[in-house]
Amino acid sequence: MPTVRVTPRYLGRGSWLARRDPRLLVISLALFVLAVVQVWDLRILALLGLVAYLYYRSARIPFREVRGNWAYVLFFVTFIIVVNTILTGGELRGYTDEQLHVYFRLPLLGTPISAESLTYAAAQYMRFIPMAAMGFPIAFAVAPADIGPAFARLGVPDRFAYALDLTYRFVPSLAADMRTTIDAQRVRGYDWEREGRGPVGKVKRVAPLMVPVTVNAIVGAEDTIDAMDLRAFGTGPRTWLRHLAFDATDRLVLAGFAVLLGIVTVLSQTGHTELWVPELLQRLGS
């Protein structure tokens, strides 16, 4: 199991967004996600996309550093869309076959490629990419040590908020352990890319990596548990040293996203967010 670069990278350090209360980043993402999932209309999605773009830019994440992540997002969105629209017969948003403006049908599968399905695919892109963009700042513009306090102050019980903190603490060291184990097994002629015998064989080939890393991590946890017990972890109400407070700007941004969600919800309830197929595309089909 190769690992991608996993050490937390605080790329947006010092940017406008990084100076916001970290809770704001979580809440605005949640509000934004709730808004986006209600919308299929490309025009509204474009507006939401613009909001997401401005928000993303304010985190000043250097593109060079996150190229790989964006490539993954694009690949995955494309994958979802292809599977959703093509392989499963192109059912979409309640359109029946007769209502479609079909350009042509895919050989073998017979899936209609139509004005509607193209619009649908475009809408999917416009839904997922802004959501991913809104998520980037949480990964790259929140100081790693702020994650725990942020969730604790969002109402997550202290111990679980600390578990989140601890998860981020373990990510780099366990990734390093994983790399060591990969090397140790390669020296023994192990190569996970080597053709396994069928899918079962391929899955089994992961055991030489997964077993030592997992068991070692659990055994090593004994000391971590001791170290925490010895410093009175979980014995009473906890102070979080990191002081979090919403300032005027934070409140304003939060209000902005709340209003956005409100408007979108009203539009959606009144039926104004459904798939909108541009005239031009319809005329090209039959």
């Binding site: 959703n84 959501m131 998860t167 373990f170 391929k202 055991a207 997992t214 946890a221 017990d229």
Partner: protein, 186 residues
């Protein structure tokens, strides 16, 4: 403070141990989740071997740990890849439920299946089949059109993939961990 959950009366008890194991499991899952490959002969069934960690942690350390490993592990994996912490929050929750239910199933089956290694495979399978029903929420979130599409596109592929890896790897992990558990612990 008791060593391990099998000695415990209460599967919901949260100790420092629960917290540390949960964090370790989630971190492990997060850093290894990117490694996946398509099941030959299918278009959308992916095998993600590291998913086995979710039912394993649930089975070995209890439902709370299983829930955390699946939920947080998947969310952070999505964050690391760039997909976004909450973009697929319902899938993260489905992962968590699979871990939670695998943990509970371990209890329920304790009387029925004596062999712990075999029991772990069954518990993991139950966790996957029930837990991932939650991805059907894609229907409301608009990622899937209707129940048919959600079943065919989402639920069935993910369940097949995760069943395969869990049934193979969870017993291997349990068999490796079991004897070690005896030699450490308090």
């Amino acid at each position: 403070m008791t060593a391990l959950m099998y000695d415990r009366e209460n599967p919901w008890e949260v100790t420092t141990r629960t917290i540390v194991y949960a964090a370790i499991g989630a971190a492990l899952y997060a850093i290894t989740a990117q490694f996946q490959f398509p099941l030959p002969g299918t278009a959308n069934v992916f095998l993600r071997p590291s998913f086995a960690l979710v039912p394993f942690f649930g089975f070995a350390f209890g439902p709370i740990v299983g829930l955390f490993v699946g939920l947080v592990g998947n969310a952070i994996a999505d964050q690391i890849s760039g997909w976004g912490l909450l973009t697929s929050w319902n899938w993260s929750l489905a992962n968590g439920l699979a871990g939670l239910i695998a943990g509970l199933a371990g209890y329920w089956l304790a009387g029925g299946i004596r062999n712990r290694v075999a029991r772990s495979a069954v518990a993991a399978a139950i966790g996957v089949v029930i837990g991932f029903l939650f991805v059907l929420t894609d229907i409301w979130l608009g990622t899937a059109e209707d129940i048919g599409v959600a079943m065919v596109d989402n639920y069935i592929p993910v369940v097949i993939g995760n069943l395969i890896v869990s049934v193979i790897l969870v017993p291997i992990l349990v068999a490796a961990w079991e004897p070690v558990r005896e030699s450490i612990g308090r």
